[in-house]
């Protein structure tokens, strides 16, 4: 469970914001320094509206999951994987990168913009690091504009 660093907010509240992009961060729990640093669920801190989900390995992401998150109205998705060569499951993070690149190509074909989906690598991450990685996505997503699917989500 997440700690009290940020104000937790429901995603419906987040949808009301027109200036703050809604970012979904899916990250490998092995990239985090300790269980105490895990972030889960919606977080709204200063200048950030994000939803965090930990995975047992970044390779657990599937193209369909990433696309559904965007089809449901998230402005951007950030996948956080371990550095290359540091995957507990050998090549999980390499597979994650391939899938992210594949989905980015699909987003371009759908004219949604590949930049809505990005991958970052890191290890021994703290809660603050995760929030910082998400924070870095805010400006690029503001430039990209709101997801046209916003409001169509189930």
């Amino acid at each position: 469970m997440g700690k009290s660093l940020g104000k937790r907010a429901g995603m419906k509240d987040a949808n009301r914001s027109v200036t703050m992009p809604r970012i979904v961060v899916v990250y490998c729990r092995n990239a985090v320094s300790s269980a105490a640093e895990l972030l889960e669920g919606p977080y709204t801190v200063k200048g950030l509206n994000a939803f965090f989900a930990a995975l047992p390995c970044s390779s657990k992401i599937e193209p369909s999951y990433l696309l559904k998150i965007l089809a449901d109205g998230a402005d951007g998705v950030l996948v956080v994987a371990c550095p290359e060569g540091h995957c507990r499951f050998m090549v999980g993070n390499v597979r994650a990168e391939k899938r992210v690149n594949y989905v980015r190509s699909l987003l371009d074909k759908a004219k949604m913009g590949a930049e809505r989906l990005t991958l970052e690598r890191g290890e021994n991450l703290t809660e603050k690091d995760l929030l910082s990685l998400a924070q870095r996505r805010v400006e690029p997503l503001k430039i990209l504009g709101p997801n046209p699917m916003k409001g169509d989500g189930k």
Partner: protein
């Protein structure tokens, strides 16, 4: 397996422009094995279509379903409950499955979501190679287990042509093996190169596409 590839997204967007409730149907057999039309691909294409159509100013409802086999009537029947709730179906099955769905639900627009391309084998994860052309006159016994119809760019019965590269690749693509080079190498390994000196007569194409639509009847299996 039968392999297929997604149709270009703009083509799918164009054909769906007049529809508002669409069912994307997959097949859990061949097209799932070649990562074109199984459950994963259905669940990937559905949100992608929604987003691509949204960019064109259209909002559509997309349902999804993946049948065990779209080429068997018993499985196609599973769509009977959802069919009345949609105005179009996009099938990610091979051409056989697409036609089965179109035949079962003639009142609906049924569109191919894929192009069916070959009968192939998975060479390694992510790579599929054509192996059979369903020619109706199999010569694999004479060609040491390599099909020159499907695997030779010219479908030569008496190869190789003059386009074999020195490294045994085909002149049309350096990544494609010359199948007649492979046939020769296997014949040599088995000490039977002399068998390749026999001139193979023209194939009997009447047992395949050249004889009209193929129809096989087994009286012992009919009702």
């Amino acid at each position: 397996m039968i392999i297929a590839e997604w149709k270009p997204l703009p083509e799918l967007v164009e054909i769906l422009k007049g529809h508002t409730n669409v069912l994307v149907v997959g097949c859990a057999t061949c097209v799932a094995e070649c990562a074109a039309g199984g459950e994963r691909e259905v669940e990937t294409l559905a949100p992608l279509l929604q987003m691509a159509l949204k960019q064109e100013g259209r909002t559509i409802n997309v349902r999804t379903s993946t049948l065990e086999r779209q080429c068997e009537w018993e499985f196609v029947e599973e769509l009977a409950k959802v069919a009345p709730q949609v105005d179009a179906i996009v099938s990610l099955a091979c051409g056989i499955g697409i036609q089965a769905v179109a035949e079962r639900f003639p009142e609906l627009a049924v569109y191919p979501g894929v192009n069916t391309t070959a009968l192939a084998i998975r060479q390694e994860p992510g790579t599929w190679l054509a192996r059979c052309a369903a020619c109706g006159d199999c010569v694999l016994g004479e060609t040491f287990g390599f099909c020159p119809v499907a695997r030779c760019a010219k479908s030569l019965s008496n190869g190789p042509c003059g386009g074999t590269r020195k490294n045994g690749k085909c002149e049309i693509d350096e990544n494609i093996d010359c199948v007649w080079y492979q046939i020769y190498e296997r014949a040599k390994a088995r000490g039977k190169v002399e068998q390749l000196l026999k001139v193979r007569k023209p194939k009997n194409w009447s047992n395949s596409g050249h004889g009209g639509p193929k129809r096989v009847v087994r009286e012992d299996l009919r009702p």
